[in-house]
Amino acid sequence: MNNRTINIIVWALGAVALILIIWWVQTDPTADYLVSMPGADNRGKGLAEQDVKIGENFEQFATDYTEMSETWPRFRGADFDNISKSSVKLKEKIGTPKIVWSVELGEGHSGAAIYKGLAYILDYNEEKRSDMLRCFSLADGKEMWTRGYNLNIKRNHGMSRTIPAITEDYILTMGPMCHVMCLDRKDGSLRWGLDVAKDYESEIPLWYTGQCPLIDGKTAIIVTGGKALMIAVNCETGEKIWETPNPNNWKMSHSSVLPYTFGGRKMYVYSPIGGLVGVAADGPDAGKVLWETPAWNHSVVAPSPVCMPDGKIFMTAGYGAGSMMVQLKENSGKFSIEVLTEYVPKDGLASEQQTAIYWQGHLFGIMPKDGGSMRNQLVCVDPKDPKKPVWTSGTENRFGLGPYFMADNKLFILNDDATLTIARPSTSQYIQLDQVKIIEDAHDAWAPFALANGYLLMRDSKKMVCVDLNL
C-alpha cells in the first residue's frame, strides 16, 4: 500500500468521523419527546351562571318546640376555640349510644349550629335541586321550617360544607356556590341575600365553599375574594359597611375568619389562597389591612388560623403543604409578622381539614395521611416547638379527617366511619376513655360537632344524628 492510498484512507476516515461528530452534535435526543403544555385536558369554561333568587323557598312544618338554655352558635362555638364551656356533665363511657333522633341529609359535610333548643343546618336537597337551611327541634328532631333557593350543583366530594352563624336575631349561611343568605332567626324570614361569586367576580373554591360565615355583633363578615378581600355587611339592612381592597387578588379558601384581639386591636384573621392577613375589625380604619404576609401560600387551605394569646398564629393545610408558626408583633400601633417555623407534614403538627385546638398552652390536632410515622395520630405539641410532639396517640390509635372538640373536660374525636372516641384532655399523655360506633355504615364523617344541653350533633356524609350525652 503506497502513501497515497494511506492518505486517502486517513482522509476518508477523518471525513467520516467529522460527519459523525457533526451528526452527533446536531441530533436532538429529545426530538421525539412531546412537550407537556397547559390546555391538553381541554378544560371547560366553568359553570354556567345561574339566576339564583336567594331565599325564595320557604316551608313551615311546625311551630312548637322545647326551648333550651345553651347554644353552639357557629363554627368552633361561641369562643371560636372548639371548647364547650357548658357546665352540663357528660358521659365518659357511652355504652350503647342514646340516639335521640336522626335525619337523612344531602351528601355533604356541613355542620350544625344550635341556638336555645333549635338546630340549624345548611343542606342540599338533591331531589328539589336546592340549597336549604333546615331548622330542627333539638329535643326531638322535629323539622320546624326550611328556607332556601333553587340551585343546580353536582356532587363534588359532597355538596354542602359550611356551618351557619346564629345570633339572637339573625341567621347567616353561605352556600356551596357562595350564596350568602341572612334570615330572621325567630321566624326564618329573609333579611337579605348576596351572590358573592357574581357580585365580586370571585372564584368558587374547589369542592365548593367551605368558609363558615361570621356574625360579629350585628355585622356579617364575609370573605369574598375577587374585587374585594373581605366585606362587612349590616345584618339588619344588608348594606355594606366596609370592603377590604384585594390588590394581591387573593382568593377565597376553605378556611374561615377568626376574630382576634392583640396589641390593643381587634382584628379578623384569615388565610386566603395567597397569604395570611389581619383586617381591622373596629375603629376608624375598620376594614383596612393591619398586617399581611405572602409567606403562607398554598393552593388548598381548609383549617382556620389558630391565634394564641402571645401573638403566635398557627397555620396548617393539607395536600403536602405542612404548617407554619408565625409571630405577630405590635409596636406603636404598627403590626409586623415574623415566620418562626415552617415545615412539611411529616415533621410536626399538621392537619388537612380540621383546625387544631389550643388548650392549656398546647396545640392538639390529628395528623394527615402524609404525616410520616405520626400519620393519622392525635398529636399534642407546645407552640414553642410544633415540630416536637409532647405526646402522640400511638400507632394503635389512629384517626381520620373527622372533627374533634372539647367539652366537660373530655376530648371527643370522630373517625371517618363515625366511630366516636372519648379521651381525657392532657398535656402529658394520651388517655382514652371510651370508643363507640355511632352511625352504622358511615362514610366521611367530617363535619364539626355541635353541642348544647348535653345533646351532641354529628353527621356522616348522608345522615345527622343527635346523641344524648347527659349523665
Binding site: 412531546l34 412537550v35 407537556s36 403544555m37 397547559p38 390546555g39 391538553a40 385536558d41 381541554n42 378544560r43 371547560g44 366553568g46 359553570l47 353536582k154 363534588n156 366530594h157 374547589l206 369542592w207 398554598h298 393552593s299 388548598v300 393539607g318 395536600y319 403536602g320 403543604a321 388537612e352 394527615p368 395521611k369 402524609d370
Partner: protein, 191 residues
Amino acid sequence: MENNKTQNRRKFIQNGVRLSLLLSLGTVTAAALRKVTTDDYVWQIDPFECTQCGRCATDCVMKPSAVKCVHAFALCGYCDLCGGYLKPDSINRDTAAENQLCPTAAIERRFIEEPYFEYHINEDLCIGCAKCVKGCTSFGNGSMHLQIIHDICVNCNECSIARVCPSNAIKRVKASEAYLVKGDFSRKPKA
C-alpha cells in the same frame, strides 16, 4: 384398482391432517384449560399493603419495570385537583409539565364536564415509580395503585422487588386470580 389406490392415499393424507389438527386443537385446549384450572402462582402487589416506596421502579429485573399504575375508576373522585396527577402546591391545575407529578407524563388528564376530570394511565410510559399512587392515597380516594402486569412480568422464582419490598406487599397469588385491583377485592380481615 389404480384409482382406488390414489383415493386411499389421498384419504390417508386427509385423515392424517384432520387428526393432526384435532390433536393440536386438543393440546392447545388442554394447555389453556390447565393454565386456567391449575393453581400456578404469580407475583402480585396487595395495594392495601403498598407504602409507595418507589422500589418497584428500581428493583424489577425488567427495564422499565413490570409494575405499572392501574386506575380503579369506580373509586376515583374525578377531581380537578387530583393528588395523583398534580404536584403538591402546583402552580396551576393544568397539564403543563411543571405541574405534573408523574416524571414520564404517563397520566393523561381529560376534562369530562364541570367539575369532573378523568385520568388515564398510559402503560407504555408508566415506570411504576408510585409517585401518583402516593399522592392519590394521601390526598384522594386511593383509586390509583400499583399492579404487576403479567404480560410484562417474567415471573422470576425469586421476585427481585418482593425481596426489597419494605411492607411485604408483594405476594404470590393464584394465576387464575392474578390481579388485586382495588374495587374488585377488598382487604380481607386478618384472622
